[in-house]
């Protein structure tokens, strides 16, 4: 239950942000659902282009509107945005209209020539996705050859003199142990490391159970971020970890619909990049009067900007730190939005996951219908024997005491 209330005249920045802003601070724009890769955990279930994707002219009109709204920069992603034939044109168009661009890519089109072009621009940031510090760990989720592709792109950027590229890592059970190696890799390319949270969104819903960091790894991650926080970007991804104690650098706030939103390739506007689902669809910028109209007046966003109740979390002494965690992580694991985050570091998430819940059906899927050679084969990486090193007994792991209690 939420009520619309008057914005307080004073108060902390976080309190002000909860009431929303006239324009987003952090806007993600996915240009296409087409992708050369088929990452197992793709947030947007990308693969195939949608025939309704915005045309070049429509994209230019979006940029014009962002300029008018003074959205100073946009995070462009996909799918793989660089495989849109007009990608480089739109990049230039945005920069020429005072909309800086940070784009995420798997590196497929970052040739030496493109790297030189990028090095010559201002206001462009490049973020290369890499989900393992080794080919084995990366290719397990991103598909064969994707590690080499990313490293070639980073090398091309470094050779061209492009400064401070970002290496963007989704933290999983398999790569939490590689944080130092990622940092070394970033240092090697003169790049900055960016760590983000694995969300159970899109195809991520299917692999979240086996990929999301284990409870003790959450602690390792928190400790590592506390030690390296100044040099590493997180996109405020890990505010659920604030319940370990000290807050991590950043806003520690769910910005969905308040300071953050997503424009998808067909112009649908969602509350956040991790919430591509009808329940978080605020409107469409082609049919609902443009982006400003959707951002400022959609019912969904009005509701998200009203004070939220803590629900089951309200009595937890850490609620003020984590604010109940990530809305998308709860939604896509079938947990109530006013309860604990599935990865609640105080342990309430595990209890909630063990209870009755229904994982919502996806409302869109642009995955390729048939696997290609780029599809990751996740069966390969079984680092531990199923039960124990020498469990040959047919009753291994069977505990007659435990099973009926």
């Amino acid at each position: 239950m939420t009520t619309t209330r008057e914005r307080p005249a004073t108060g902390s920045l976080v309190q002000q942000f909860e009431y929303g802003l006239d324009a987003p601070i952090c806007l993600t724009w996915e240009l296409t659902y087409a992708c050369n890769l088929e990452c197992a955990h793709c947030l947007s279930s990308s693969g195939r282009r949608d025939p309704r994707e915005l045309t070049t002219e429509q994209c230019e009109a979006v940029i014009d509107e962002l300029q008018r709204m003074q959205v100073f920069y946009v995070n462009i992603g996909g799918g793989e945005p660089t495989i849109r034939p007009d990608f480089w044109h739109l990049l230039q168009y945005a920069v020429d209209h005072q909309v800086g661009v940070k784009f995420s890519t798997n590196g497929v089109r970052i040739t030496p020539e493109r790297a030189r072009f990028l090095a010559s621009t201002d206001y462009v940031d490049v973020q290369i996705s890499l989900d393992g510090a080794t080919a084995e760990v990366n290719d397990h989720v991103r598909g064969p050859g994707s590690y080499n592709m990313a490293l070639t792109a980073l090398q091309n950027l470094a050779d061209a003199g492009f400064r401070d590229a970002k290496i963007s890592v989704v933290c999983t059970r398999h790569n939490i142990g590689q944080l130092d190696e990622f940092k070394a890799l970033a240092d090697r390319f003169g790049a900055t490391l960016r760590l983000t949270r694995l969300r159970p969104s899109g195809r991520g819903a299917e692999v979240w159970d086996e990929l999301h960091p284990l409870p003790e790894q959450q602690r390792d991650l928190y400790d590592w971020l506390m030690a390296h926080g100044e040099d590493v970007l997180t996109g405020d991804s890990f505010f659920h970890l604030a319940a370990f104690g000290e807050a991590l650098p950043g806003l520690n706030l769910c910005g969905a619909g308040r300071v953050v939103c997503l424009i998808d390739p067909i112009g649908d506007v969602y509350a956040c990049p991790f919430a591509i689902h009808d329940n978080f669809l605020a409107g469409n910028l082609l049919t609902d009067g443009g982006f400003r109209q959707v951002w400022q007046t959609s019912e969904l966003f009005q509701e998200l900007r009203s004070p939220q109740t803590g629900g089951a979390c309200a009595s937890c002494s850490f609620f003020d730190s984590c604010r109940g965690g990530c809305m998308a992580a709860k939604f896509f694991t079938g947990l109530p939005l006013d309860g604990p985050d599935p990865e609640c570091v105080q342990g309430y998430g595990e209890a909630a996951l063990a209870g009755d819940r229904v994982v919502p059906a996806p409302s869109q899927d642009h995955s390729r219908p048939n696997a290609t050679r780029n599809q990751p084969v996740m069966l390969q990486l079984l680092t531990r024997p199923p039960v124990s090193a020498c469990a040959e007994s047919p009753l291994a792991g069977f505990d007659p005491e435990g099973c009926c209690s």
Binding site: R7, L13, Q16, Y19, L21, D22, A23, I25, Q70, F72, Y73, Q98, G100, D122, Y123, D125
Partner: protein
């Protein structure tokens, strides 16, 4: 003494009005800063048009007793290159 100096918004900074004040974005170093009071926004906007910071504060209606606090805030903005000392044309 900052109060007696001419200052202005940096040329690569844009201000975006918001209900609580404004966002200041620096296109050069890509830093985003929040001006948390409408009064501070008025002061920053007045800087370039006034001979010195003191006049900008007066122009925005800031009482003298609050000048030190505003100078502190302006110093913070200067540290992020959001505002710069204005170099006067020699007469």
């Amino acid at each position: 003494m900052m109060l007696d100096e001419p200052w202005a918004l940096s040329p690569s900074v844009a201000l975006r009005p918001e209900p609580f004040g404004a966002l200041a974005y620096h296109f050069g170093n890509r830093r985003l800063t929040f001006l948390k009071r409408p009064e501070l926004v008025a002061v920053v906007r007045a800087l370039a048009k006034q001979p010195d910071v003191r006049s900008a504060l007066a122009n925005a209606g800031i009482p003298t007793s609050q000048h030190p606090a505003y100078v502190e805030a302006l110093r913070g903005l200067a540290a992020a290159d959001m505002i710069r000392p204005r170099v006067e044309e020699p007469r």
